[in-house]
């Protein structure tokens, strides 16, 4: 039998963290307290920090006198009851500690004139507040910088441009991973008794800051035997049609309004209470209905905003947003004075791996952190992701570090590695259908509103049939002329998987709740559906089953529902 070293480059570590975003950085830094060798592997640039590096750097935290219980109460209402109260209770109860860690590491949050942290209430909720980072709107880069500095200080090994494509198991436990370098193509084998997956959720490659997350968690997690959930929930966001813009969360409370082609502030009709100041999923739902009635396209009208508020949210600070704003101006587009066209855009699923309050999956040696975990039914709150990533990263790092310290030497099955390598490189240096073409085919099937927003059985079944054609005709014929394209090909494979799971779970959930709206089943049905659709894989077969939430045991019983603030007309 050939040696492991003859197959590729071998890296041995105690804890391997897949994904170098903020959850991965938190996990690695915390794991280092328990073991000597911690490695972060990322398919992107070294130390770039993932999606958070392009975020505003705002974070939710239960800052006293707010309590974790108050925050969970808000989420139970906001998520229409579909809230894992144990999980979120743990996250919020540790959120203020992580916020203070960020401050100790040198990250600054914006304070009020009285010196207190400036918390912005979110989505009309009673308690949850978002704390803005410095500089306003582009603080994410600083957040990443302080975590990377800490990783360097702790001697965390960081490797870039390596795409992990398979996990290695031994007697049911995860013991390693294999992948390749996206520039030189070199095969890599990681030996690690403890692996944390921190790769984000699944995107369809639609926006600048959801650039690398492509369903890797679903692909790797399901293959390793972990369970997934929240597959039926996708982020369908309202975005400018032509360019990118961050921060509608702050524009809408300051008076900006979405209007239709007739100039009507259409959200007032669907929710007289909240109007346009709500979650984008309700706005895009209204947009789809308005468009069907012939009242599209849509525009963002900033004219009701006060001049001082416009000044506050005008991009500055030298980051990409300022550059973007100035370039648009040079093209004759003034964001605040013109009515810019906005539309609904399918962006990414929020599907993720089921992990418990300690970050453990059902597979020994395999842990999950950040947005790779299943957490929410897609309604968003500004700052929630940076709260989630810090706390779950810290927790998963602690659990995985302790676990690794208790493990004996591991033995990797060389023949399994050889098999994985052979499969991986099968499409390599071969001509075939470009993976980008297949991505387009998938987008054309999954994006239309009767699959993504106003879901119907007919729309979803048509989409499933379309995906089936891609599985048979296109997926096996993709080619990868070089290592870069092999990376893109692997991403399209995982995007296909998450698309299939999105459609199948959407078809299964015959009710409407939070970010999932079935126009043919517009009502909530707590007796059947106050729970998660759990997804698992055995052999080739993917199994979906419903697991109800243990509401009897929960302290907070759902009595108010955020979706009751809206009235959408029945399907025609």
């Amino acid at each position: 039998m050939s040696s492991l070293e003859s197959q590729g480059k071998v890296i041995e570590t105690d804890v391997l963290v897949i994904g170098g975003g903020v959850s991965g950085l938190w996990a690695a830094n915390r794991a280092r307290a328990f073991v000597d060798r911690v490695t972060i592997v990322d398919k992107g640039p070294k130390d770039w920090g993932g999606q958070a590096s392009m975020s505003g750097g705002a974070m939710d935290a239960a800052v006293p006198p707010d309590t974790a219980d108050d925050f969970v109460k808000d989420l139970v209402y906001y998520y229409d009851g579909l809230c894992d109260q144990d999980f979120w209770g743990e996250i919020f109860s540790r959120s203020f500690d992580r916020m203070r860690d960020y401050q100790e590491l040198g990250y600054e949050f914006i304070t009020q004139p009285d010196g207190k942290l400036k918390g912005i209430p979110q989505r009309g909720l009673d308690h949850i507040k978002c704390y803005l980072g410095k500089p306003f709107g582009i603080g994410g880069k600083n957040m990443v910088r302080v975590l990377v500095d800490e990783a360097k200080r702790l001697g965390i090994h960081r490797v870039a441009r390596i795409v992990i494509t398979d996990l290695l198991k031994q007697n049911g436990s995860v013991v390693g991973a294999t992948g390749f370098h996206s520039v030189n193509g070199e095969f890599h084998i990681f030996k690690a008794p403890s692996i944390i997956i921190a790769v984000g959720d699944g995107g369809w490659k639609t926006s600048y800051h959801h650039n690398t997350c492509a369903g890797d968690a679903a692909y790797l997690g399901l293959g390793a035997g972990a369970e997934l959930s929240n597959c039926e929930f996708a982020r369908v966001w309202n975005v400018p049609k032509l360019f990118a813009w961050e921060g509608q969360t702050y524009l809408l409370p300051l008076g900006a309004k979405f209007i239709n082609a007739k100039g009507e502030s259409f959200m007032d009709k669907y929710s007289p209470i909240l109007g346009a100041n709500t979650d984008p999923h309700y706005v895009t739902r209204a947009m789809a209905i308005e468009a069907r009635e012939g009242r599209g396209p849509f525009f963002l009208d900033c004219s009701p905003m006060k001049p001082e508020d416009r000044e506050l949210v005008t991009p500055k600070g030298g980051g990409w947003m300022e550059l973007n704003y100035k370039k648009l101006k040079a093209l004759g587009m003034n964001f605040f004075e013109d009515r810019t066209e906005w539309t609904a855009q399918m962006r990414r699923t929020v599907m993720g791996i089921r992990a418990d309050m300690q970050g453990r999956t059902v597979v020994p040696g395999f842990f999950a952190a950040g947005r790779a975990c299943a957490t929410d039914p897609t309604l968003y709150i500004g700052g929630l992701s940076l709260c989630l990533t810090a706390v779950t990263g810290y927790i998963a790092g602690e659990t995985a570090g302790r676990y690794a310290a208790s493990q004996k030497a591991i033995d990797i099955d060389t023949s399994l590695v050889g098999y994985q390598k052979q499969n991986l490189y099968a499409p390599f240096e071969k001509s075939g259908i470009p993976s980008k073409e297949v991505l387009r085919e998938i987008q054309k099937i999954v994006f239309p509103f009767d699959v993504s927003i106003l879901k119907t059985e007919a729309g979803l079944k048509k989409a499933l049939a379309g995906l089936e054609r891609i599985r048979e005709k296109s997926l096996p014929r993709m080619g990868a002329p070089d290592p870069h394209y092999l990376m893109k090909l692997m991403e399209v494979k995982s995007i296909f998987l998450m698309s299939e799971l999105f459609v199948r779970a959407s078809l299964m959930r015959t009710e409407s709740r939070a970010g999932h709206y079935r126009e043919d089943h517009p009502l909530r049905d707590d007796s059947t559906w106050l729970g998660q659709i759990m997804v698992s894989q055995k052999g080739e077969a993917i199994n979906l089953r419903v697991e109800l939430l243990p509401v009897d045991r929960y302290r907070i019983k759902p009595t108010r529902y955020y979706s009751d603030n809206f009235t959408f007309p029945p399907a025609r």
Partner: protein, 79 residues
């Protein structure tokens, strides 16, 4: 999407290549020395990272993003 790299300004430092999240840029030799080039233009997602980080101010990204298949279309009501 990324539009141009000004080869007179580019000093071949490779920062843009290292920083691109999508692995869109690469270096290659030219008669004037090593220069960056847009190796995989289709993969650009308009994050501006290369332009923001370029010390020679050689890169220009157009603010318009790639056109995607629509989620809603406005002929829906006109059938």
């Amino acid at each position: 999407m990324i539009e141009t790299i000004d080869l007179e300004r580019c000093n071949g430092c490779g920062i843009c290549v290292d920083r691109c999240p999508l692995d869109t840029l690469r270096l290659r030799p030219s008669p004037e020395g090593i220069k960056a080039f847009i190796a995989y233009p289709d993969d650009c997602m308009t994050c501006f990272e290369c332009e923001v980080e370029c010390p020679a101010k050689a890169i220009s990204v157009h603010p318009f993003k790639e056109e995607l298949p629509p989620t809603i279309n406005y002929t829906q009501g006109k059938k």
